[in-house]
């Protein structure tokens, strides 16, 4: 029954890119701005990118893990596939861009402010933030992003397998939840450093 329903909603096989190409110029602009600000060591700009990027990254992770996740579980399989088809291509552009601008600007900011110096009074907190970021990066790069790409490939097939889509989406939502929880630790560290 579920399979029949999925077939009725199955996307036709296309040769379109799984990446929403129309959004690439925004990604390019953000990354170029990040490079320019790092090269120019413009602290206000770096602060802006770090705070805005970090806030959005945290919000998206928490929203995906604790709002979209439970909603997704309550939907029928065809509805999950429809939501996934629209959500995941955008996530493929949004998340790597947010992560790159936040971490790139943050590292340069920490260097300019002397926070990376071992003599900085709260250097231990800075190292702790690196450990938290490392854990989030491992979860994101090994679970979150590959699941995102794999589900998009599955949905391009003439008859997507709902079991595969479910496995991958469950992995995506759980991984987003884990990184969301780690984001809370990041917020604790960052507010401590800024106080």
């Amino acid at each position: 029954m579920a399979a029949t329903a999925v077939e009725a909603h199955a996307p036709s096989r296309t040769t379109d890119s799984i990446v929403p190409l129309g959004g690439l110029w925004i990604v390019g602009a953000v990354l170029t701005l990040t490079v320019v600000l790092i090269a120019g060591n413009w602290l206000w700009g770096l602060d802006f990118l770090h705070v805005v990027g970090g806030g959005m990254w945290t919000a998206v992770d928490l929203f995906m893990g604790f709002v979209i996740g439970p909603i997704m579980r309550s939907l029928s399989i065809p509805a999950r596939i429809e939501l996934t088809k629209r959500l995941m291509p955008k996530m493929l552009l949004i998340m790597p861009t947010l992560v790159t601008m936040t971490l790139g600007a943050g590292f340069q900011l920490a260097l300019a402010n002397g926070m990376l110096d071992a003599s900085y009074p709260r250097h231990g907190w800075v190292v702790a933030s690196m450990v938290v970021v490392a854990v989030m990066a491992i979860v994101a790069l090994a679970l979150l992003q590959p699941a995102n790409i794999a589900v998009l490939f599955e949905l391009r097939k003439p008859q997507p397998n709902p079991a595969i889509v479910q496995i991958l989406m469950r992995r995506f939502i759980y991984a987003a939840g884990v990184t969301g929880a780690m984001q809370v630790a990041t917020l604790v560290i960052m507010t401590r450093l800024a106080t």
């Binding site: 990354l31 790069l141 709902p162 496995i167």
Partner: protein
């Protein structure tokens, strides 16, 4: 029509090994960064780098030797991901040079970055290709 079967997820622990390799890289970078601006003792990050490269090599071998694996899809996804992460790695290398990192530390950071950059396409390519059938299968 019968419902599609749940996929068989048995196989080598490529994801877990990839996570281990990236974790070893991260530990090496954090160890180097924790001593700034002084120079960190180089033995720990060198050992971490060697371990990360060894785990990556084992992982690639496991992927390439897996029977019935959709290598064509793995190469397609891993190739594009490599291109994307070369851009990211280029940005990071630019930051190292911009911050006057030099000498042995620069070499170590670059090798750690290269190991990281190679791990990401392997993980993405494997995750996509394990759900793919070989043409004609």
């Amino acid at each position: 029509m019968s419902a599609p079967e749940a996929p068989d997820l048995a196989g080598p622990r490529v994801i877990e090994l990839g996570m281990l390799s990236i974790a070893l890289v991260a530990a090496g970078v954090i160890d180097l960064a924790a001593y700034l601006p002084r120079r960190a003792p180089l033995l720990p990050p060198v050992l971490l780098l060697a371990a990360a490269v060894a785990v990556l090599a084992v992982n690639v071998a496991l992927v390439l030797r897996r029977p019935g694996f959709a290598l064509w899809r793995f190469r397609q996804v891993a190739g594009w991901m490599l291109l994307v992460y070369l851009v990211v790695a280029g940005m990071l290398e630019f930051t190292f040079l911009r911050d006057h990192t030099h000498g042995t530390v620069l070499v170590l950071m670059t090798l750690l970055l290269a190991t990281f950059t190679l791990n990401v396409p392997v993980l993405a390519g494997y995750t996509v290709a394990r759900f793919e059938l070989e043409p004609g299968a």
